[in-house]
């Protein structure tokens, strides 16, 4: 597994492209680390805020001889944000310090996840081609927007009602997941 600190010197020089390459490997383990908070905080919002803060503090991060110093920091930033949000909402924070320690030890042992491979991409593209027109249009709209626009705007641009758009997004994801499973790809989460 690659050490994502490979990108740290460039990130410290405010190279956003380098931060993007770091993100490509860091996002999945970071999101997974927030799993226990899923019922208590909006993990997507916490994760995005944590990543913005990591970008801000990255120039001050010094490698300590162990791999993935920036990712280890990101785990802490994300966890602290999630704990704060959960407490603000009146929940008892669900993750103890020992859990974070275990997470960091696992990261040290296994490293960060690698970026998607070309074969997986080719299979997903093939599965995408098989989607029905409306689910594919909804999926493509979300992909193209990249989190920049509310669903209401994407739905309107496609001439769909918002709920129809959302149903189509769900159908597209489920159909893709099913197609990938038939192709032998192990997926990390059960589709709801």
């Amino acid at each position: 597994m690659p050490d994502l600190d490979l990108h740290l010197p460039a990130i410290a020089q405010a190279d956003a492209d380098a931060f993007g390459r770091w993100l490509a490997g860091a996002e999945t383990p970071l999101r997974a680390s927030l799993r226990r908070f899923a019922a208590q905080v909006d993990v997507e919002a916490v994760l995005q805020e944590a990543l913005l803060r990591v970008w801000q503090v990255a120039p001050r991060v010094k490698p300590d001889g162990r791999p993935d110093a920036l990712l280890r920091l990101a785990f802490r930033v994300a966890r602290n944000l999630a704990v704060d949000e959960a407490r603000r909402a009146g929940f008892h924070a669900p993750v103890a310090e020992e859990d974070l320690t275990r997470l960091l030890e696992a990261l040290a042992r296994d490293g960060a996840s690698e970026a998607p491979d070309p074969l997986l991409r080719a299979l997903i593209l093939r599965c995408r081609e098989k989607l029905r027109r409306q689910p594919r249009a909804a999926l493509d709209a979300r992909l193209h927007a990249g989190g920049s626009e509310p669903d209401a705007g994407l739905a309107a641009a496609l001439g769909m009602k918002l709920n129809t758009f959302l149903q189509n997004v769900g159908r597209a994801r489920k159909a893709l997941a099913e197609c990938l499973r038939r192709g032998g790809v192990a997926l990390p989460e059960q589709v709801p």
């Binding site: 956003a16 931060f19 993007g20 390459r21 993100l23 490509a24 490997g25 996002e27 999945t28 999101r31 997974a32 799993r35 899923a38 019922a39 208590q40 905080v41 909006d42 993990v43 997507e44 919002a45 916490v46 994760l47 995005q48 805020e49 990543l51 913005l52 970008w55 970026a115 998607p116 997986l120 991409r121 997903i124 593209l125 995408r128 979300r142 992909l143 927007a145 990249g146 989190g147 920049s148 626009e149 509310p150 669903d151 918002l162 709920n163 959302l166 149903q167 997004v169 769900g170 994801r173 893709l176 997941a177 997926l187 990390p188 989460e189 059960q190 589709v191 709801p192």
Partner: protein, 77 residues
């Protein structure tokens, strides 16, 4: 629309990567997420996890919608 359809729509909305900005500039939460019960929030998390993996795999640079949203914000604060 049935109650089940309405719930599925909320899950899908909460599983998207778009998040509003708070007045202080911080990343805001999804209104749909607030309308979900605990089980619905867990479903939204699972749906988002899978969606981001698929998005990243489809994008040549391996960036999900979450990553692209973050990069857009730090390039244009």
């Amino acid at each position: 629309m049935t109650a089940r359809d309405a719930r599925e729509a909320l899950v899908e909305a909460a599983a998207g990567a778009y998040r509003p900005r708070r007045p202080d500039g911080a990343v805001g939460t999804s209104p749909a997420w607030h309308d979900l019960d605990a089980a619905g929030r867990e479903e939204a998390f699972a749906a988002a996890t899978l969606s981001r993996r698929l998005e990243a795999a489809l994008e040549p640079e391996g960036l999900s919608s979450t990553a692209r949203s973050v990069l857009r914000r730090l390039r244009r604060p």
